[in-house]
Symmetry: C2
Subunit: 260 residues, 2 copies
């Protein structure tokens, strides 16, 4: 079921119980299909709903004065746009689908209701926001200190890890709807240069990339050249990692979940 990605994503916060998972599954009903290029939010909007991505990818972006697009974040399946939109005034950036997909528009009132009812969900949404901030810091670190080869390798590591976190990567493969132009807008380099770097990564036997799919052929070496360490994603190791194996809850074996 598509709405399991939502539970899978937030379960990485390590704070949810069966009741919270049910509530989240319930919240993620009624997805509607949207096409690539569809704007979820434009800069300056004051959205009255929160968007949840069930399928497909979206990007946060700003435009330069001369019309170039700079990508500032990725929304993968299971990700929410801005669970706390009520706190700020107007959106300072836009969000647009970069592939066909499926989204849910959750009314603000529903968000208020569910966070008031389930403190663990409220806390989890804030965890998610802080993780987003941490990812932003890592991107800034990347563009500030890594060359384009390591930068692209690092991006692939992150995207693969995040997709795997919601059960959408198997055998080192995951969807990769970004064009080379899009990748350039993420890393702040030209599409031509992205192409040359991709070919180096291919030639070095690290990845295969094409037809909308990324295949990481040598994860260990890719992580190595990227300097990738997934600590910044702040996933909490849960003792039992049985989510998504059959989409069903098991009564928690109640192991002492001792902090590591």
């Amino acid at each position: 079921m598509a709405n399991d990605v939502f539970v899978a994503k937030l379960d990485q916060g390590g704070l949810l119980g069966p009741r919270e998972r049910d509530a989240l599954r319930n919240l993620a009903q009624n997805g509607r299909a949207v096409a690539r290029g569809h704007h979820l939010i434009r800069q300056g909007d004051r959205p009255e709903v929160v968007f949840l991505v069930l399928r497909g990818w979206a990007v946060r972006y700003k435009l330069t004065p001369d019309g170039q697009r700079q990508i500032l974040g990725m929304l993968l399946p299971g990700d929410l746009c801005h669970p706390q939109n009520f706190v700020l005034d107007a959106m300072d950036h836009g969000i647009v689908m970069v592939s066909d997909g499926e989204i849910v528009a959750i009314p603000k009132s529903r968000m208020v209701e569910i966070t008031a009812t389930y403190p663990a969900i409220d806390k989890t949404l804030w965890w998610s926001t802080l993780v987003d901030e941490s990812i932003l810091r890592e991107w800034l670190f990347s563009v500030g200190s890594r060359d384009s080869y390591a930068q692209l390798a690092h991006l692939f590591c992150e995207l693969h890890t995040r997709m795997a976190g919601v059960g959408l990567a198997t055998g080192g493969r995951c969807a990769m709807p970004l064009t080379q132009t899009d990748l350039g807008e993420v890393l702040g380099i030209s599409a031509v240069h992205v192409n040359r770097v991709v070919q180096r990564l291919r030639g070095d036997g690290l990845i295969a990339l094409g037809r909308g799919e990324l295949h990481i052929k040598d994860l260990a070496r890719l992580c190595d050249v990227a300097g990738f360490d997934d600590a910044y994603l702040h996933r909490r190791p849960r003792a039992e990692h049985d989510l998504l194996v059959d989409g069903r809850e098991r009564p928690s074996p109640r192991q002492p979940s001792g902090a590591v």
Copy 2:
């Protein structure tokens, strides 16, 4: 009083009343002096206190594998380190003073207590966190899309605006404890190049910079070359901007604070 910067900073969220301001002033007692180079937090720490900067500047940073430092954020007077440290596990970056200063270490329990007592403060702290995230996005945008000249101009605009927001900039002047090496670590460029860009900014009559002070000589033109628009700082215009004039509250004149 130094602890007024804390109130001034959070008052930009536009959510505080007299009671909240008193509580915050009370929280910001007992600052202690720290020297430049003092680490507030190291990567991997699980701090049990929240740090508040009363005087001086600190930076968030990560180190590259070869020991280079990349700066990922600035903490100016009035800024808090990580009001929500309880949400994440371990710090994924360090924080260090880049000038002498004065800080307050607030125990976690005090934070929990005050946010539980004053919902407006709780909400304001989250506002502050979301603004930090917005700043991070703007930095990423900057390093990804602006050349070094516009980048440095933009940084100066931001720092001046933030200092002015807590009453620490007058007549286009504010403290600037960052060395040119530090500036390079913010922008991801070499110190040598920072020097050349600074000289261009000086030669163009936009700024004066030296002896720990930044003087913006032509703010309009500096904003223009930087493409600076302060919307991303999400300050809420309050009808009366009488903070800090005498450090005393006036009974709010109750003007209709009509949204623009």
